[in-house]
């Protein structure tokens, strides 16, 4: 909580540094931490990735299986991104059903991938209204070091990019698995999520856990390969000026481009 003395001291120190254009880990304000992406880490899954973003570490697995479409969405396959913070990832995480923070995390990650239309869901249909391919992209935070939104999003995107999709043939209205034949998922664009925090009047990219503990507000902006802004989520207990938000949207595009290059190397 902001009100706690330790957080206040931390905030004072962070703000003092920000006034000189610096951050406690030496980064500039619009600089992300090092992003390390490793794919194929869970060979039993159809796709997987381990992502390190500074001290934050995520493992994502993708499972692909036959499914029924949602009612009224019979011409689309199923894509579901989840996220959970494992209790070993954070001294404050608790086992049990997800709390509101975790639900927000999962929904924001899902929305970024869904709204950019990363995957052409129409290509996942086997029999319209009856049988579709379902992709379940489950992210587990295994070390929590700030900015879980971006880290989970990157791990989910990398997990999808690493996927091999099994082939089902439809015989007599029944989808049948074709052994040994797989393809890449139908990728249309590369979503990149960029999260920024406001501390005082400063906007910083990719906040650490310490920075998050004393930030005023947070914003996550997801852009696609064409430079469109596709998903936004403001969080935190204070607000932004409209000017700050425009600045954030520009930063999201600039920073996002660098990350997208890292994704392109996985394709």
């Amino acid at each position: 909580m902001n009100s706690q003395i330790l957080d206040q001291l931390k905030r004072d120190k962070i703000l003092d540094l920000l006034k000189t254009g610096k951050r406690i880990d030496g980064r500039t304000l619009d600089e992300q931490r090092q992003l390390i992406i490793e794919t194929g880490v869970i060979p039993k899954a159809n796709g997987s990735a381990r992502v390190k973003l500074g001290n934050t570490e995520i493992i994502t697995g993708v499972k692909i299986q036959l499914d029924k479409p949602f009612p009224d969405l019979g011409d689309k396959g199923i894509l579901i991104c989840t996220a959970e913070i494992l209790p070993l990832a954070d001294p404050n995480a608790e086992p049990g059903p997800p709390n509101e923070e975790v639900i927000e995390l999962a929904r924001v990650v899902d929305r970024g991938i869904r709204e950019t239309e990363m995957i052409d869901l129409h290509q996942l249909v086997l029999i319209e209204n009856k049988s579709v391919i379902g992709m379940f992209i489950d992210s587990s935070v295994i070390d929590s070091g700030g900015n879980l939104f971006d880290a989970c999003s990157y791990a989910s995107v990398a997990g999808i990019l690493s996927c091999t999709v099994p082939k089902w043939e439809v015989k007599d209205e029944v989808p049948t698995l074709v052994e040994g034949v797989t393809s890449k998922p139908p990728i249309k664009t590369l979503p990149v999520s960029v999260t920024m925090a406001r501390i005082g009047e400063y906007i910083i990219v990719d906040p650490t856990k310490d920075e998050e503990s004393c930030m005023d507000a947070r914003i996550t902006i997801t852009t696609n390969s064409d430079g469109n802004i596709c998903a936004v989520q403001k969080g935190g207990s204070d607000g932004f000026t409209p000017e700050q938000l425009v600045q954030c949207s520009e930063t999201a595009l600039t920073v996002g481009r660098k990350i997208r290059k890292q994704f392109e190397q996985l394709m």
């Binding site: 009100s3 706690q4 639900i103 929904r107 709204e115 802004i229 403001k234 607000g239 520009e250």
Partner: protein
């Protein structure tokens, strides 16, 4: 009624419900509609019908959630089973839990919590009938209900969405436009402090459109603010500027 994309807007920029691009739906707010709540408001915003009730500051249960240095704000956004086309299960969905959180965080900067350590202010929102933009309408009612409860506040919070429909930026997205349009951006503003306390986006906007869309929404927020203010005046000053 099957609606195709082309029907969302005429060539003259008239929308499917007859509105112009920058026109709000009908909004009416009544203050103090509940007897048990410490503060309350009822809003009709297009076809949205939403109740907000506020209790507090009061003791926190369970006690370990209390903050010795400040009051806390809790918020529940809930949809009635009959509020949507398909009957909704009354248990809170993940969507409702997320919206509860963003509404809480949108209201929080407006409420002065420091003076009430160890207490909670509970904001309960019930969507009786849902239309496009229900989270904005819910926020508008909740902020007025907080004021009605006599909670000390820095500003009201006024919310309104904008979006992109048929390639044009429009104010106050309705249900059809939300379902079949290209983008929906709910925004909440503290009008006097000039701070945006809620911003979400689903859809696809070019960077320039992003700015226009936000500006459009902010104009809407300011108009909503006038309606909120008038509703409060009507209750608290008999001669409200009707």
């Amino acid at each position: 009624m099957v609606k195709t994309m082309t029907q969302l807007m005429t060539e003259d920029g008239i929308r499917c419900d007859g509105r112009r691009l920058d026109e709000l739906r009908n909004i009416s707010i009544k203050v103090g509609v509940l007897k048990n709540a410490d503060g309350s408001a009822y809003i009709e915003f297009g076809k949205n019908k939403i109740l907000a009730g506020v209790f507090g500051p009061r003791d926190v249960h369970p006690k370990h959630m209390a903050n010795p240095d400040s009051g806390i704000l809790r918020c529940r956004y809930h949809m009635s089973p009959f509020s949507v086309t398909e009957r909704k299960n009354p248990a809170p969905s993940r969507r409702e839990i997320e919206i509860s959180k963003v509404i809480k965080e949108a209201l929080q900067p407006s409420v002065i919590l420091k003076d009430y350590p160890r207490t909670v202010i509970d904001v309960f929102i019930e969507v009786l009938q849902a239309d496009g933009g229900s989270r904005c309408a819910a926020l508008d009612a909740a902020s007025v209900a907080l004021a009605d409860a006599g909670i000390p506040m820095r500003d009201l919070v006024s919310a309104c969405a904008a979006g992109k429909v048929a390639d044009r930026i429009v104010l106050d997205v309705n249900n059809e436009e939300d379902q079949e349009g290209q983008a929906d951006m709910p925004v909440a503003l503290m009008p006097n402090l000039g701070k945006v306390t809620l911003l979400q986006l689903d859809g696809m906007l070019k960077p320039e459109e992003f700015k226009t869309c936000m500006q459009t929404a902010l104009v809407g927020c300011k108009r909503v603010y006038e309606i909120q203010r008038k509703a409060l005046m009507e209750k608290y000053f008999q001669n409200g500027e009707q």
